[in-house]
């Protein structure tokens, strides 16, 4: 996820990963917890905050809770937060071709 630092400060970021034991998609939330809904994720507005949190998230990966945490860009609107890119949008919902499956269907992996 090597990204240029410029432009980053304006963008909103959250940290995501998959749980080691179940593979479930999770987002880094308050108190360094891992939430199963992106709505519960901590949103970082500043690059330094995001990087510092990513270090703590990586510690959770080293401890075997999650696998490979990384930062993603999100947008906020209508009081909701959603990922900017299609890949992360699909991860936050479930397969676009199976509305009956995944987070969008209220299923928890």
């Amino acid at each position: 996820m090597a990204r240029p630092a410029e432009g980053f400060a304006e963008g909103l970021r959250v940290i995501t990963a998959n749980r080691l034991d179940s593979g479930a998609v999770v987002w880094f939330g308050p108190g360094d917890s891992w939430a199963h809904r992106i709505a519960a994720a901590t949103i970082f507005e500043r690059a330094e905050e995001a990087e510092a949190a990513l270090e703590r998230a990586k510690a959770a990966a080293a401890a075997g809770v999650v696998v490979e945490p990384y930062l993603i860009e999100v947008v906020r609107g209508d009081d909701r937060v959603r990922p900017l890119r299609p890949r992360e949008l699909i991860r936050s919902l479930g397969p676009s071709v199976r509305a009956d499956l995944g987070i969008q269907a209220g299923q928890q992996q």
Binding site: N18, S22, G23, G64, P86, S96, V97, R98, Q109
Partner: protein, 565 residues
């Protein structure tokens, strides 16, 4: 553990495990169980565990872990398919996805469940060994092996031998990159030989003995190459020694500095086929010897597993079929596309399309798997196949039972008459499931198959193979599609590159880009215009691919994108 032999139907032409094989498999499951425990306890880091889990078919995808179950050279028994259905229900979300490598993937797997799933698979002599990782992968072959009218050598025998030989091979399990082997025993190539790292064409040598032409260096991905002829007429006894030589040269000299240059195709390209042949031949001469000889007694013992099922002696022409055909247009269409001739008089091989209009290519629900397992028992000696086109095959069906089979298939939404037609789209999972994807492929395939849903129109268009991949890894074989669609990520927007003129059979060719990449909403229209151009221009008896070959890509580009493009 005699559950497989228990039923009256167990006549499937497949390798039957004995206690030795079962002991091995049980040990392998235990080994993986401990690997999972060691990962969870922290003894193994993710970087160490990842290759170990991949070697056992376990990926971490977008939503969950994905387990790729091996279907050796695409052959399954009814009992095995039923077990897959049960696993899908118990540990997944009630369905599975058949892949272009004749395997089955479960998409919603938890790591902690995998050892139990492997136990369940082992109960029916199945596993996920070497369905991923930088090792020798599941050997693939012709879905009509042992039944095809044009077959000269039964490739399953040698596919099984290569499967065994490559299983946990001590020297070749940490290769530079994955290694895919395909084999066919027919002149008409249904196994896509040209796109494999090593391809084996089994044939009869001048003296009538079985021998092999070996091809090397095919592969798609970022730099696609078609395999080149490496060795002609290799004697049967030398098969394994020769493969050892190929793999050893690759293991030693294949590039390890760049993942995109690590396949053997790049070694062939950089070293040159002639020089590489010299190296391999020199290695082969050193290896060749009694220890690595493939003894004919071993071949015979394995061949015995693939004895033909107890066919009945039947006349070849079955009037009832003809009558039914004339009476029922839908059945007639299905017979025309989904039924092929069998070497045994009175029998046929049937493709069960997993591509209904608007459906997800290759997906089958647990209920459908159970239904097909039952039908395989009723109509095809309890055996079925997975094709690289992501369909299922009943290889040995009596012609006079075709109508009954078709009627039964219709009850489960499995009667789609489109094998080889525009609706029979190969599509990889793409961005809906795959962590490597750039763009979605499934919903596009659904759009296209819906647009061309009219069976009469599909039949009018004739043979047309659309193949789609969600990224340059090309799991959907887009380079060799008559029409290929590749998903690319343009600044965070799903975009698609369309190629035409590719082919995966004995006249293999790589497709050429037909015009600028287009957005998600434009792909289906572009394809419709390509098809319209073909229909306007085709000569009598010409398939889409033939018209492209005759007129060239440029003509289609100008027609579809305008002269300026």
């Amino acid at each position: 553990m005699t559950h497989l032999q228990a039923g009256p139907y167990h006549q499937a032409g497949q390798y039957h495990y004995d206690e030795i094989d079962r002991r091995f498999l049980a040990e392998r499951v235990e080994q993986f169980r401990r690997q999972v425990e060691r990962r969870i306890s922290g003894e193994l880091t993710e970087a160490e565990f990842r290759p170990l889990r991949l070697m056992n078919g376990l990926y971490l995808q977008l939503h969950a872990y994905m387990l790729r179950v091996a279907v050796p050279y695409g052959v399954l028994s009814s009992a095995q398919l039923r077990q897959l259905a049960a696993i899908g229900r118990k540990y997944d979300r009630g369905y599975g996805h058949f892949t272009t490598r004749q395997n089955l993937q479960f998409n919603w797997i938890k790591l902690v469940d995998v050892p139990a799933i492997l136990d369940d698979l082992a109960k029916v002599d199945m596993h996920a060994i070497q369905t991923s990782g930088n090792c020798i992968r599941n050997v693939t072959t012709d879905q009509f092996a042992g039944a095809a009218e044009d077959e000269v050598v039964d490739p399953r025998v040698y596919a099984e031998i290569m499967r065994q030989w490559s299983t946990l091979h001590p020297e070749f399990t940490f290769l530079p990159r994955k290694f895919k082997i395909a084999i066919t025993g027919s002149p008409h190539d249904r196994a896509a030989l040209a796109i494999h790292d090593v391809a084996v064409r089994a044939r009869r040598l001048a003296d009538g003995a079985v021998g092999f032409d070996i091809y090397v260096g095919g592969g798609l991905g970022r730099s696609p190459f078609l395999a080149k002829l490496l060795r002609e007429g290799l004697p049967e006894a030398d098969l394994l020694a020769y493969l050892e030589a190929v793999l050893r040269i690759y293991n030693q000299y294949g590039r390890r500095d760049n993942i995109y240059k690590a396949r053997i195709k790049i070694l062939v390209h950089e070293v040159g086929i002639d020089k590489l042949r010299q190296q391999i031949d020199a290695e082969f001469e050193r290896i060749r010897g009694p220890k690595y000889r493939l003894e004919s007694a071993i071949v015979d013992a394995i061949r015995a597993h693939f004895a033909p099922p107890p066919f009945e002696v039947l006349p070849d022409e079955v009037p009832s079929v003809v009558v039914a055909m004339t009476g029922d247009a839908a059945f007639a269409r299905w017979v025309q596309t989904n039924v092929v001739r069998h070497r045994q008089p009175g029998y046929a091989s049937v493709t069960i399309s997993l591509k209904p209009a608007g459906g997800i290519p290759g997906d089958a629900t647990s209920e459908q798997m159970e239904a097909v397992a039952d039908l395989a028992e009723r109509f095809s000696f309890g055996e079925l196949r997975v094709s690289h086109e992501q369909n299922l095959v009943l290889a040995h069906v009596r012609r006079d039972a075709l109508h009954a089979l078709w009627t039964e298939l219709g009850k489960h939404g499995l009667e789609t008459a489109n094998a080889g037609l525009i609706g029979d789209i190969i599509a990889c999972p793409g961005l809906d499931y795959c962590a490597l994807a750039n763009a979605r492929s499934i919903p596009l395939a659904q759009q296209i198959s819906e647009r061309f849903a009219d069976p009469e129109r599909q039949h009018l268009i004739g043979e047309l193979k659309i193949k789609m991949s969600g990224c340059i890894n090309a799991c959907g074989h887009h380079h060799v599609g008559h029409i290929g669609v590749l998903g690319v990520d343009k600044h965070g927007v799903e975009t698609y590159q369309i190629t035409i003129g590719g082919s995966a059979d004995e006249k293999a060719a790589l497709g050429a880009v037909v015009g600028p990449a287009v957005g998600y909403d434009e792909v289906t229209d572009k394809i419709e215009r390509l098809v319209a151009a073909y229909l306007d221009w085709r000569l009598e008896g010409e398939r889409f691919i033939d018209t492209v070959a005759r007129l060239g890509v440029k003509a289609f580009r100008e027609r579809v994108y305008g002269p300026a493009a």
